[in-house]
């Protein structure tokens, strides 16, 4: 019975959203210039953020899972911090780091790079919040797999780089894909950090969640239509990710 209630808690709002959709106007609402700009921007920035997460996250996960240095164990909670931090707090922290009067902001300004209010800021915010998801999923996969295969390869005479390229990464590939898909989904849904740090301008920083937030002020039908779009994308992403975790 409690399980049924839990399912209801999740499904009921989705059903409510579906009943609220103006199906006749849906195509027009989804293809308006503002909607297309937001969708294009969301997909581009989330893809870039996922790539950034992979570039930084895979080495991080490897270090966290395999390192025997004590300091690394202490660093782990901080690496996972963005996962539990309220996104708007993450946005404020990023602002005071990369903003004009921030810690590193002055240096970037001197180099002629303005980060705040740019698409770069959006990618930065999304990477910040999505990175722990990738690192976490990868690290747990690494721990489960154990160093067995790598040790065998090493005893057979393979150099560490060869072990990494031919053993570690191929066995990790399913976990990397799952982690990347989760990171992409998180980046796509990012709102609090984006609106605080990057601002909101059509085509530059107004991602799909920000567009929904704005549209609900004057055009609830458009907001519902775009919400439905995000739900469909999210369901597709989750379906893709869990198919790899729980193959049929």
């Amino acid at each position: 019975m409690p399980g049924g209630l839990g399912a209801l808690l999740i499904l009921a709002p989705l059903v409510a959203l579906l009943t609220r959709v103006d199906w006749a106007a849906l195509p027009a609402l989804l293809t308006s210039p503002a909607s297309l700009a937001a969708l294009g921007l969301s997909l581009r920035t989330s893809a870039l953020a996922t790539v950034a997460c992979l570039i930084v996250g895979v080495p991080m996960a490897l270090v966290l899972a395999r390192s025997r240095v004590r300091l690394v164990a202490w660093l782990r909670p901080f690496v996972l911090l963005p996962l539990v931090l309220p996104p708007v707090v993450a946005g404020i922290a990023l602002l005071y780091t990369f903003g004009r009067r921030g810690l590193l902001g002055g240096t970037f300004e001197a180099l002629g790079l303005q980060i705040a209010f740019s698409t770069t800021a959006v990618v930065l915010a999304q990477t910040f919040v999505a990175l722990p998801l990738l690192v976490l999923s990868l690290e747990s996969a690494l721990r489960t797999l154990g160093p067995g295969y790598e040790d065998v390869a090493a005893t057979l005479g393979a150099r560490p780089t060869l072990v990494l390229a031919r053993v570690t990464i191929p066995t990790l590939l399913p976990a990397v894909v799952t982690g990347a898909v989760l990171a992409f989904a998180r980046a796509l849904g990012e709102f609090g950090a984006t609106i605080t740090f990057a601002g909101s301008l059509q085509g530059v920083t107004r991602t799909l969640p920000l567009e929904i937030y704005l549209q609900r002020e004057t055009d609830p039908d458009a907001a519902v239509a775009l919400s439905l779009l995000l739900v469909v994308v999210a369901v597709a992403v989750i379906g893709l990710a869990t198919r790899r975790i729980f193959p049929a």
Binding site: M1, F117, G199, Q215, R216
Partner: protein, 230 residues
């Protein structure tokens, strides 16, 4: 099996306002004056409490449409009040716009024309919200195209970005001029846009609150907070 269902239903029933509470929904730009007017009302009507919910005007109307309880509604412009569709709304204040700059004026802004400079970081309200509609009207009157770097959904966000030094300039309400960290640059009256704030009530207590807002005391509080007369 049924006792917990009863408990859930009972808990759902709790949380409504007490009999002597007046619920008021007000635009967030009215935070300072309405808090003071609420105190005045409570002094004049001992035993009652005023619970004011501040938020974006459009947000509040959306909540009311979904059944949120309120005795009185105060919006930042006529258009939003029209959407709420309450009987006989009345104007109670006006609010003109102003340019704000952070301390030190890093963008060397002197007037409205400077805001069309694409090299400056300018933050304004999105046209979908009352302060943004006013900004768009100013753009049209002055014949300029503001090179905005961000269009916020709430005037408080514009103020925040200017006061923290993220933006070189922003356009907010004149009533926001008292905020820390910003100085104002006046917009000429000939091009300035003025929002008329509307208030409406739908029960006796709400009407009493409305009367307090329209009374001499209420109007003085609004004037002290930078609002213009209705």
């Amino acid at each position: 099996m049924k006792w917990w269902l009863l408990a859930v239903l009972l808990l759902a029933g709790c949380g409504g306002p007490a009999a002597n509470t007046v619920t008021v929904f007000a635009a967030s730009s009215l935070t300072s004056p309405f808090t003071q007017i609420a105190d005045i009302y409570e002094q004049q009507h001992p035993g009652t409490t005023v619970a004011v919910t501040f938020g974006g005007s459009a947000d509040l109307v959306a909540q009311l449409e979904q059944g949120a309880p309120a005795s009185a509604l105060a919006t930042a412009d006529e258009a939003t009040m029209a959407k709420a569709d309450w009987t006989s709304p009345q104007p109670f204040a006006t609010n003109a716009m102003t340019i704000v700059i952070p301390e030190g004026n890093p963008g060397a802004v002197r007037g409205i024309a400077d805001l069309s400079n694409p090299d400056l970081t300018v933050v304004i309200c999105a046209p979908q919200v009352p302060c943004g509609a006013a900004t768009a009207a100013i753009e049209q009157s002055a014949g300029i195209d503001i090179a905005a770097d961000s269009e916020e959904s709430a005037v408080a966000d514009v103020l925040g970005k200017v006061s923290s030094g993220q933006a070189d300039a922003g356009i907010v309400y004149q009533s926001d001029l008292g905020s820390a960290g910003v100085t104002g640059i006046a917009i000429p009256d000939s091009v300035n846009a003025i929002n008329t704030y509307m208030i409406a009530a739908r029960d006796t207590r709400g009407r009493e609150f409305l009367d307090t807002v329209l009374s001499e005391q209420g109007q003085q509080v609004l004037a002290d907070n930078g609002f213009g007369p209705p």
